[in-house]
């Protein structure tokens, strides 16, 4: 009986990380093989710059593993429903099935594999096919290979070939830990998520996966440990489970990244304050994004963006010169004395990092506020469920006006090459805008004893103003915008009402956003990254992910709510054809919402109706062919299914209408004025209730006149044509069915448009009320929470997606 001692001791190591980890297979010096699986394309080997498909099967579960001798590849393939282990040689000869199993790894001598089957860990001799149960007495859970896909990104820990270092992922980056003495450096500094490190055979470089989204798809990069400022992209669009046995990779596209140095100058010494009597700066800390200084006699810590036009932008008042607690090549930690209104002593710890564009500030006491001096025209709080919120001094009723709850806020300085961002990641951290006269002088944050982050984002052009064209008669916004780089851009325009959209591209044509005056202003700024965003650009979403972690960032941004549609009714299967990214443009480029009446099943003019039209297309011809109504069981079944799909789409929309109706009842109950409310709050709620009443009257007049039963009746006539022969699309029955369906769809979409517009407006109004009517803050936040609850549900044919994608689940 063999057990895990047959494997090198390095294969299972305990280094204080949460997961049991496996080492890389022993490297082979003369091999340069990269194996990976690409979504919807298959599994490939990259050797000598040549890519060869070794299997048509794809998926994260394929997890190809190179044998230590570099001659064989182990694959996890599910064929006929059962997961099995397959072997192929390095040239990709047709894979041969070995046995049932999952989560397989090689032995060092390449003669055996260890894998999981029905909860047991099995070892198998490949030549003889003899199997052994590994670790029969062990009570620990079966080991999981480090590259095996899991739902969440964990520590993908890998020992270096010489066993001296460990590479692992923590959050969005890969770190290197020296085992003895135990020191850690952040290896990757590019924006986005870096995962699944694999050591090179010589231990001098690491190949890893990089993505803008935890769900992938991923790109494969290689970084030389001695030169982490340059990374080399080897392959695009893969599943994260890859394997590699090369040394420093050749070829690929070289990208430069920031975050290579942290300078600490001045009179710095650990655990002491610098003397303040001498002239010159007391402290100068500098990374690739900003410089933090404290000068003699200056009771503030000043932040200077490192950009062409970057000038002093923000500062934190401190009582005296800071004390340095830690200073090394990775970070400088120092303690500052905050000045607060009560005059009581207050302290905070500040961290500045080599590889991060922000300063982390953690007050020692729960009750201490952090005041950031920050002169700006307005602050912007992104709100992707409705429209971004713009707060200026004129919107504030008090010198310290509360701000709506938001995980981060942005300020736009005079120069367009940098942005300032304050991250308050936990919901109970509330900020107030400090106003003097008509100016904003800063932000005060009740950090509740937890960290807040002050980030400085820089790029040649990071934000742009835009607004209505001066020659536009109706003062609507019509513009073609070109951005300095591809990203998930946010476009927000502010006037009597606000309007915000996401643009996942490098340029966009805005054809009609009506109802804005020439004096209204707009901003475009990078919100998050897409697959083409340069690695040296850090977006607000990157900062949030880096500061609070991937899972927490997803929670606070409610990415699930933004990125997916959900109703109680299951969507029709064919909606998946309208998947995001490379596979479709739905929900399209979001810039041109049109009325549902313009939907045409043959013209596809309307992205909102496209998945629906696709069903009609499959039935009745057009771009994708159609069905000839032959007397065949398959034809009969398909016509039946597709008709049912159409009906279920409409039923889903009806269900969504009911969701809104229930929301409205709940909303109304929440807005009923209570006896102890002050006047401002009461007025606000009364106005809100009035709008609800107006909406209900309007909706009453719009309720669908075309019932599902009528659609079903027409579908029966279509189904009755099976066996009559000829193209369904050429029959009058189908034409009538299509017209009925589209009318029914339009009627429902119109109602949902009204509901959604109302809810978004209510959310905007509640947010705007918070700095204007501080006493209404709690009620307004309640309304915002309620609106988010209904807005985070969205039928995929419900309008006004405004650039929010329907998620990446289809790619997996």
């Amino acid at each position: 009986m063999r057990n895990s001692r047959s494997y090198p001791a390095a294969m299972i190591v305990a280094v204080g990380l949460s997961a049991t980890v496996w080492s890389d297979a022993l490297p082979v010096e003369d091999e340069q093989t990269l194996v990976f699986s690409k979504p919807l394309q298959g599994t490939f080997v990259l050797r000598d710059g040549q890519r060869k498909r070794i299997s048509f099967r794809h998926g994260a579960h394929v997890a190809p593993r190179l044998s230590p001798d570099g001659k064989t590849i182990l694959l996890h393939l599910r064929k006929g429903g059962a997961m099995g282990l397959w072997l192929t040689d390095i040239d990709g000869t047709k894979p041969i099935r070995v046995c049932d199993g999952d989560r397989a790894e090689w032995s060092v001598d390449s003669q055996r594999i260890i894998f999981s089957r029905q909860g047991r860990t099995i070892e198998r001799e490949l030549a003889s096919g003899i199997e052994f149960q590994a670790d029969p007495g062990s009570t620990r859970t079966p080991v999981i290979p480090a590259n095996h896909p899991r739902n969440q990104i964990k520590d993908h820990a890998r020992l270096s070939p010489d066993g001296a270092m460990l590479a692992y992922q923590d959050g969005t980056h890969i770190y290197l830990m020296n085992i003895q003495p135990q020191t850690v450096i952040q290896l990757t500094t590019a924006a986005g998520i870096q995962s699944s490190p694999l050591w090179s055979a010589d231990g001098k470089s690491i190949t890893y996966c990089q993505s803008n989204d935890p769900a992938g798809p991923w790109d494969i990069y290689n970084v030389e440990i001695a030169n982490p400022s340059q990374v080399r992209r080897l392959e695009r669009n893969v599943h994260r489970a890859i394997d590699w046995n090369g040394v420093l990779a050749d070829g690929g596209k070289v990208n430069s990244v920031k975050g290579t140095s942290l300078l600490a100058e001045g009179r710095i010494g650990l655990n002491r304050r610098p003397p303040v009597t001498e002239p010159g700066p007391v402290i100068v800390l500098e990374n690739d994004w900003f410089r933090a200084t404290v000068s003699q006699g200056d009771n503030s810590l000043r932040l200077h963006p490192k950009s062409a036009n970057g000038q002093f932008e923000a500062s934190i008042s401190i009582g005296r010169a800071p004390s340095i607690l830690k200073s090394d090549s990775q970070e400088v930690v120092f303690e500052v004395h905050l000045t607060n209104e009560q005059g009581s002593p207050a302290k905070a710890t500040c961290k500045m990092f080599r590889a991060k564009p922000y300063l982390e500030i953690t007050p020692l006491n729960i009750g201490d506020d952090i005041f950031i001096n920050w002169e700006t025209d307005f602050v912007l709080l992104p709100d992707r469920f409705a429209n971004d919120i713009r707060v200026s001094a004129s919107n504030c009723a008090t010198p310290e006006a509360p701000l709506p709850a938001s995980p981060f806020l942005l300020a736009f300085p005079s120069a367009r090459d940098h942005l300032l961002m304050v991250v308050t990641p936990t919901p109970h951290q509330r900020s107030r805008l400090v106003v003097q006269g008509k100016s904003i002088v800063g932000i005060k944050t009740a950090a509740q004893g937890e960290s807040i982050f002050l980030a400085v984002l820089t790029h040649e052009t990071l934000w742009q103003p835009f607004g209505p064209k001066t020659d536009s008669q109706d003062q609507g916004i019509r513009a073609r915008l070109t951005f300095p780089f591809s990203a998930k851009w946010r476009l927000s325009v502010f006037g009597e009402k606000n309007h915000s959209v996401m643009v996942d591209a490098q340029s966009v044509q805005l054809s009609a956003i009506d109802g804005f005056a020439l004096s209204d202003i707009g901003r475009t700024y990078p919100y998050g990254r897409n697959r083409n965003t340069p690695l040296d650009v850090i977006t607000p979403e990157d900062v949030l992910r880096d500061t609070v972690g991937l899972e927490q960032a997803a929670r606070v941004l409610d990415l699930e709510g933004l990125g997916n549609y959900r109703t109680a009714e299951p969507p029709v299967p064919l909606h998946q054809l309208q998947s995001p990214g490379a596979y479709s443009s739905y929900p399209n480029r979001y810039s041109n919402p049109q009325s549902p009446q313009r939907l045409s099943w043959r013209k596809f003019a309307h992205p909102r109706g496209r998945p629906f039209a696709l069903l009609l297309e499959l039935l009745g011809g057009g771009q994708y062919g159609g069905i000839n109504m032959a007397e065949l069981p398959g034809v009969n079944a398909a016509v039946d299914h597709l008709c049912e799909d159409i009906v279920s789409v409409l039923q889903g929309l009806d269900h969504r209408i009911r969701e809104y109706q229930l929301f409205l009842a709940d909303f109304k109950a929440n807005c009923e004025p209570e006896h102890n409310l002050d006047g401002q709050t009461g007025d606000f709620l009364a106005a809100t209730l009035h709008r609800v009443d107006c909406l209900q009257i309007k909706i009453e007049q719009m309720l669908p006149t075309l019932k599902i039963a009528a659609v079903k009746e027409h579908s029966q006539k279509v189904k009755a044509l099976v066996g009559t022969g000829g193209w369904l699309g050429q029959t009058t029955e189908f034409e009538r069915f299509a017209e009925t369906c589209l009318t029914a769809l339009s009627q429902r979409q119109n109602i949902l448009d009204e509901y959604r517009e109302f809810v978004k407006a209510a959310r905007d109004q509640a947010a705007a009320a918070i700095p204007l009517m501080p006493s209404a803050q709690d009620k307004a936040e309640q309304i915002r929470a309620l609106t988010q609850k209904v807005l985070r549900n969205r039928h995929y044919l419900e309008g006004d997606w405004r650039g929010e994608s329907i998620g990446a689940e289809v790619i997996q």
Partner: protein
């Protein structure tokens, strides 16, 4: 000596004013009936001429057709700018007298119908006769230069009845010079169709072969194995006619526009009325393929299948997929089987030519023509073998069948992970189908059409070889009249 034969009278209720003069020409060697068409004619009863014991009968029908039962050679005289030997299968042969500057007459291996496009673009002469092919001679005007015309059509008396008519309408045919202005741009031409019909024009496809393109009723794109997707070069928008030429269909020479069918005033309809069905003028394809009931076939079918898998619906719609794969297989079998017919056909033609050579070994003129035919046949065979490559038809069909079998198997598996393989198989089987279709389109649709043009034009000066030209034309036409492959589909 020419003796005018005067008609007894002219009907007053004529649809078109006509003047018909029948001449009886006699000399020592031959006798001819000479019909001079100055405008058009109509019925006026039965005429007869008789000389030296030979009698020709003329019947003027109520619809304006002149029926001639000739005792002698018929000469129909009128000023024709082009002669047209129509064929719906192998495409029409155009006789432009300006291309034969040294000739005084041209011999044409007509099967049953011949057309003359009269000067002025408003009249077409139609000559049709039932039964066996007849030799036709085009007599050219004596002047030289661009304005040269066909002055008369001489029809051999081998046939018992000849029907003649003049179709008249303004713009009943049109001669459109093509320039680079038509390249990659939709250009309206200065011509309006006089009535609805299947109007067509010959254009140079791939710079190699003249192909007849019917005018469509709207602008659009089309697919052909030799061209891939391409903008359809001729269409109407209401009364306006447009041409859009490209690198695939070049703007070279002229676009000669006329209609063969689709209206009573067209040659095919005329021939149908008087002569009945003529093989070379039959519609070569019936687009309803009864053995493929699902109807989702070929490119569209593959798109359909791909989308079903992409939506992970393959298990739900498995029955339909199986039926579609049945269709794919049927298509593959038919098209693949067709390739084998080429081999048989070429062998048969080669044998025929050898046999003709043996029987004509004393006639050097005919021998030379037959040698050229033999050389052409060898060239066609080598082209066929070249384009077939290493894989022969049975192998292709087998390869496709294996692909369909794999697709059938994958359609029973749930999940997107089968998608890549499905897509690959669809592409692969489609590519094989394309290759099979392309072979028939290239060999049958191009090489054999070029061949039939060559062998037809070659006999313009060699009346002795007309019978072989007619025989070859008949063989090739019969072979290319296939319903489901791409030799003659447009």
């Amino acid at each position: 000596m020419t003796v005018p034969y005067h008609m007894p009278g002219v009907c007053a209720v004529s649809r078109v004013m006509l003047l018909l003069t029948v001449f009886c020409i006699c000399d020592y060697t031959f006798a001819q009936v000479h019909i001079s068409v100055e405008n058009t004619w109509e019925h006026s009863g039965k005429l007869q001429n008789q000389m030296d014991g030979k009698r020709s009968t003329f019947v003027s029908h109520a619809d304006g057709t002149l029926e001639v039962r000739p005792a002698e050679t018929i000469i129909v005289s009128c000023a024709m700018k082009y002669g047209v030997l129509p064929s719906r299968v192998t495409d029409d042969i155009i006789y432009n007298p300006n291309k034969f500057p040294a000739a005084t007459e041209l011999h044409v291996p007509v099967e049953n119908v011949f057309m003359g496009l009269l000067e002025g673009e408003d009249q077409i002469l139609i000559c049709a006769w039932p039964g066996a092919s007849s030799n036709v001679k085009l007599l050219l005007s004596e002047n030289v230069g661009k304005g040269r015309l066909i002055r008369a059509v001489e029809i051999d008396p081998g046939t018992s009845i000849v029907y003649l008519d003049i179709l008249a309408a303004p713009g009943i045919w049109h001669d459109q010079p093509l320039t680079d202005d038509y390249l990659e741009t939709a250009t309206e031409i200065d011509w309006k169709r006089p009535h609805p019909a299947v109007w067509k024009t010959q254009l140079l496809e791939n710079g190699r072969v003249e192909i007849s393109y019917p005018f469509k009723e709207q602008k659009g794109r089309s697919y052909h194995p030799t061209l891939g997707s391409f903008p359809w070069p001729a269409w109407f928008e209401g009364d306006r006619a447009f041409l859009h030429l490209s690198k695939k269909v070049l703007p070279v020479g002229i676009a000669l526009i006329y209609a063969l069918e689709g209206h009573t005033e067209t040659p095919i309809e005329f021939a149908k009325r008087h002569v009945g069905t003529i093989a070379s003028l039959q519609k070569p394809i019936d687009l309803v393929w009864p053995h493929r009931p699902t109807g989702v076939f070929s490119c569209n079918g593959r798109d359909f299948v791909e989308r079903v898998f992409r939506a992970n619906l393959q298990v739900r719609e498995n029955q339909l997929l199986q039926e579609i794969f049945d269709d794919f297989e049927a298509e593959s079998t038919v098209c693949g089987g067709r390739l084998l017919e080429y081999q048989v056909f070429i062998e048969r033609i080669k044998r025929n030519i050898i046999s003709w050579q043996q029987s004509e070994n004393n006639n050097s003129a005919i021998e030379s023509y037959l040698s050229e035919l033999a050389e052409d046949a060898r060239h066609l065979e080598s082209e066929y073998r070249r384009i077939m490559g290493k894989r022969m038809a049975p192998q292709m069909i087998k390869y496709e069948a294996e692909g369909f079998q794999q697709l059938r198997s994958l359609s029973k598996e749930h999940g997107l992970e089968v998608y890549a393989e499905v897509k690959h198989l669809l592409l692969e089987t489609n590519s094989t189908t394309d290759q099979i279709e392309k072979i028939s389109a290239v060999i049958g649709g191009q090489a054999m059409k070029r061949w039939i043009r060559r062998l037809t034009y070659r006999c313009v000066f060699q009346p002795a070889v007309l019978k072989y030209a007619q025989e070859m034309r008949k063989e090739i036409t019969e072979f290319l009249s296939h319903e489901e492959t791409w030799e003659a589909i447009y």
